[in-house]
């Protein structure tokens, strides 16, 4: 091994990240070359000094107290909401009847616009949207810009994509805005608005009106709007046009909830 090669491996060597055979080669060279040996020693010494200089600071008590207090508060809130969701509805037969009816209607609506039962050819747009969704949905925080503010996300997305995108408020359906991302769909820059319902991520994509093939999607009319639906890899897609943009919702939550979203969306526009 030559000096330049050793120099190239120096950081990885000092970090203990070389595989055994390369490490032996480097060590072989170091035995014979005082200059490289000094460089390695200096590297170690530099890091040690750095660690010493940047000493650990204990977490200030007010910081830990604040954190523990917030967690306790969140925890109490969760317990309260668990209690009301367990007992609250039982107290009212009316509420029970209403929820049964809602579940039934939701199921029926879902059934009516459900994915085609015969497995059609996979549409490339569907595949792309589902893949994008699956890429980001499992992330701790799928949004690039984390914000629950509709206006802020709309402005940010417009700045990054050049598209005026409506960022719908789905909060009446219990769906929380997490923020925005920028991505590409069908060869165009696209806005990717991220929502969350319970533990499920809902992705809303917006891109210039899609003129490609919609083969493999099912056309559905609902409240005067035309949608295209599909299911792929266990995810559901709902696609529609608005102005000069095409919007697509992707999620693994049930149909009835996607329908909820769209109805809220159409009412707000």
């Amino acid at each position: 091994m030559t000096c330049p090669e050793v120099a190239r491996f120096r950081h990885a060597y000092c970090d203990g990240e070389l595989d055994a055979s390369t490490m032996l080669e480097v060590e072989g060279h170091l035995q014979a070359c005082p200059a490289c040996r000094r460089a390695v020693e200096a590297e170690h010494a530099f890091r040690e000094e750095l660690r010493r200089a940047v000493s650990q600071e204990p977490v200030p008590p007010h910081v830990t107290e604040k954190l523990r207090a917030t967690i306790a508060e969140l925890h109490e809130g969760e317990k309260r909401s668990a209690r009301t969701s367990t007992w609250g509805w039982r107290a009212s037969w009316l509420a029970l009847a209403a929820s049964v009816l809602l579940i039934f209607l939701g199921g029926l609506l879902g059934y009516l616009i459900a994915a085609p039962r015969l497995q059609p050819a996979l549409n490339p747009l569907v595949a792309q949207l589902v893949m994008e969704h699956m890429k980001f949905a499992p992330l701790e925080n799928p949004a690039e810009l984390s914000s629950g503010n509709l206006q802020q996300v709309a402005v940010w997305v417009q700045g990054r994509t050049g598209h005026r995108v409506q960022v719908p408020d789905y909060s009446p359906a219990g769906i929380r805005l997490l923020g925005g991302r920028v991505t590409r769909v069908a060869g165009h820059r696209a806005a990717y608005i991220v929502y969350e319902k319970g533990r499920n991520i809902i992705s809303l994509f917006a891109f210039p009106r899609y003129g490609g093939s919609l083969d493999g999607l099912k056309e559905v009319e609902q409240s005067g709007m035309v949608f295209h639906t599909a299911a792929y890899q266990g995810k559901h897609i709902l696609l529609w046009d608005s102005g000069d943009m095409t919007y697509a919702l992707v999620s693994d939550i049930g149909w009835e909830q996607l329908v909820d979203c769209v109805l809220v969306f159409s009412r707000s526009t």
Binding site: C3, P4, A7, R8, H11, A12, D15, E17, A35, R38, A39, A42, E43, A45, F46, R47, E49, L50, R51, A53, V54, S55, Q56, E57, P58, V59, P60, V63, T64, K66, L67, R68, T70, I71, L74, H75, G77, E78, S81, A82, L139, E140, N141, A143, E144, L145, S146, S147, G174, G198, R199
Partner: protein, 187 residues
């Protein structure tokens, strides 16, 4: 609606996640430029961790998981707050050739000469992407693989960022030692 968890979940969070408060606090201090920013980042990291604790796989390394959340929160902050600070400003340092031989090493003396505060400042003015890997590797002792997972990038990227970050840190320290400390910050 938060995830459903009982007292056991909270206790588990205490025992698994909150035991790493010290590490996360120190990393937050190194990543940010002042204490109040660090405290915010710290709070945000743990509250997010609490919210997503159901996604944490028991038996895996909670410290690395927390670092990943910290990194995420940090990246979001940089992107939101600093239109002027280019998150990709690392390209400034791209001209640094990977693997060049350093002159015989005077940097150790540099670190010895400078006060801890100046060194922290030198870390804090590193471009964010480089700062993250330097803090994780050199101060927190994370492996390349861990850093790659935390930052969600290939190991090769970790290595080159680490190289450039360390190089940039040395340059800044050299400037500080020459009494030019403020020039880099403003530039």
């Amino acid at each position: 609606m938060g995830p459903d968890r009982g007292d056991r979940g909270r206790k588990e969070f205490e025992e698994t996640a909150l035991v790493h408060m010290q590490r996360i606090y120190n990393a937050a201090l190194r990543l940010t430029r002042n204490k109040s920013e660090a405290e915010d980042l710290f709070q945000e990291t743990f509250l997010r961790a609490y919210r997503f604790f159901h996604q944490f796989r028991q038996g895996t390394d909670c410290r690395a998981w927390l670092f990943a959340i910290l990194h995420n929160c940090f990246v979001n902050r940089v992107r939101q707050t600093a239109a002027a600070v280019d998150f990709d400003e690392e390209r400034i340092y791209r001209q640094a050739e990977f693997g060049t031989v350093l002159p015989q090493n005077p940097e150790v003396h540099l670190v010895r000469r400078l006060a801890g505060e100046e060194i922290q400042r030198a870390i804090a003015v590193l471009p964010p992407k480089l700062r993250v890997v330097v803090v994780l590797a050199d101060l927190e002792g994370c492996s390349y693989r861990e850093i790659a997972e935390i930052c969600q990038c290939p190991i090769g990227t970790v290595m080159s960022r680490l190289y450039r970050g360390r190089q940039a840190l040395r340059d800044t320290l050299r400037d500080y030692a020459k009494g030019e400390g403020s020039s880099k910050e403003n530039g």
